[in-house]
C-alpha cells in the first residue's frame, strides 16, 4: 500500500469519525460535573469524584466538602467509623437533596481512589 493511499484512508477515517461525532454528540446528555448541576437534579442520583478539602465528623454523620470549582457539600449518614481524611481523592455516589435552601449530596457509597 502506497503512502498516499494510506493517507487518503486516514483522511476518510478522520472525516467519518467527525461526522459520527457530530451526530452522536447531539444525542448525549452531558452529565456535567460542575457544581451548578446540583440546582437542576434534586432527587436524582449522581456520581462525583474529587478531593476532600474539609471533613467534619458528627454523631452518626460525616460532613465532607469536595474540592471543585465551587466546593460541593456531601453528607454521609453512618453508624460506623469512617476512615477518610483531607486530601483523599474519593468517588461518591448518592442523591441530591435540598437542605435549608442549599443543595448537597447524601452519599450512599464512598470509595477512596488515592
Amino acid at each position: 500500500m502506497k503512502e498516499t493511499i494510506l493517507l487518503k484512508i486516514a483522511l476518510i477515517c478522520s472525516l467519518v469519525g467527525l461526522v459520527a461525532l457530530f451526530f452522536i454528540s447531539q444525542r448525549i446528555e452531558l452529565k456535567d460535573y460542575k457544581p451548578d448541576f446540583l440546582n437542576k437534579n434534586i432527587g436524582e442520583s449522581v456520581n462525583l469524584s474529587g478531593k476532600i478539602s474539609k471533613i467534619t465528623a458528627g454523631n452518626n454523620v460525616v460532613f465532607i466538602e469536595l474540592s471543585q470549582q465551587v466546593p460541593v457539600s456531601v453528607v454521609v449518614f453512618t453508624d460506623k467509623n469512617v476512615n477518610l481524611n483531607e486530601n483523599d481523592f474519593v468517588e461518591i455516589s448518592g442523591k441530591i437533596q435540598s437542605y435549608n435552601g442549599k443543595e448537597e449530596i447524601i452519599a450512599d457509597k464512598i470509595k477512596v481512589v488515592s
Binding site: G17, K34, L66
Partner: protein, 403 residues
Amino acid sequence: MLVEIVVAIILGCLMGVITGLTPGLHINLVSLILLSISPVLLGYTNVLAVASFIISMSITHTFTDFISATYLGAPSDDTAMAVMPAHRLLLQGMGHEAIRLATIGSLLCLIATVAMSPILIFIVPIIFNSLKNYVGWLLLALVIFMILREQNLDKKFWAFGIVILSGILGIIVLSMPNLKDPLLPMLSGLFGVSVLLLSLAQKVKLPPQKVTEHVKVGMKDKIKSIGSGVFSGSLVSIFPGLGPAQAAVLASQIVGEINTFSYLIMVGGINTVSMILSLITLFTIEKARNGSIIVVQQLLKNIDMNTLILFLSVALIAGGIATFLTMYISRIFSKIMNKVNYSLLSIVIIIFVCFMVFYFSGFIGLLILAVATAIGLLPNIVNVSRSNSMACLLVPIILMSLL
C-alpha cells in the same frame, strides 16, 4: 460540547506524539496525572472532553511508539516484539518502510475493529466467560511451543535456558515492592540496550535511510496480518494479564510463517486493537484492561451505548490524525538518521535509557537493566529467537494464573 471534544482530540494526539517518542514516558502516567487534577479540569471542561483527550492520546501513542522503537531501539512493553524486525529494516536503510508497515497495521486494524464492534459487543462477553479460567494453560502451551519450535536439540536447550532466566528475572522484578515502572529497565535491557550493544560491538554502520515505497505486501498476506492483529489484540483486551507482546508471540505462532513485512503490519495493529477493545470491554463486561482506559472508567464509571459510539468516533479521528503525524515524523527521523553517527547515537540512547531508568526506578532499576541486558545478549550469541525472552512476562502470569 463538540468543540471541546475536538480540541481535546487534537491536544490528545499531540500528547500521544510526545509519549510515543519519549522512551519511558507512558500514557498511563499521563492519564493518572490527569485523573489527579481532574477536579480542577472539570471546572473548566466536561468529563467527556477529558476522556476524549485520554483516548486520542492512547490511540496516537500506539502509532508513534514504533518510531522510537525503530529508530532509537527503545521498546516499550507494547513494541518489544517489533523492535527486532523493525531494527533489521533500519539496518537496510528502510526505517521509514518499517514505520509505514506498522502504521498500515495500526490504521487498518483500527478501522476493522470499529467496523466489527457491533459483533464484538455480543461475542466479547461470551469469549470472556468461557475462557477466563484457561489463560495460564494457554500461555504455558505457548511457552512450550516457543521452545520446541527451535530447530535442533542444542537450540531447544538454549531456548529453554533463556526462558528460565528471563522468567526468573520477570518474577523477581515484578514482585519487587516499591519499584516504580518495573517494565522499563527489564524490557529496555532485554530488547533495547542489548540490541544497541550488539550493534556497537559489530561496528554496525547505518546505511542511508531512504524514504521509499519498495515493500509491497500482497493482499492475502495483508488480510492475514490484519486478521491476526485484530484477533490477538482482542485477546489482550479480553484476558487479564495478557499483554501486547505476549499476544504478538501467540499470533506469530498461530499464523505460522509470515515475512518480516507482514509481521510488522500485524504487530502494528495489536496495540491499537487492544486499545479499542478495552473500550468495548468497558461497555460489555465493565472491565478495562488498559491503564489509560481504566482512568476513563474512573472518570465516567460505566459507559452507555451512545458514549461508546462517541469514543469509537474519537478513536477514528485520532487514528487518522496519528497516521499523518507518524508518517511526517518518521520522514524527519529518516533525514536526521542520515546525518548522525549511528555508533554515537547508540551510545547517547544507551545513556538516555540509563538516565530514564535511574529517574523512574532508581539504582535498583539500573541493576535490573544490567542483568536484563546480559540476558538479552544471549539469543544472539546462541542464535535462537529473541521472543523467548518474553518469558519475563509470560512466566509470572502463568504462575499467577495456575498457582
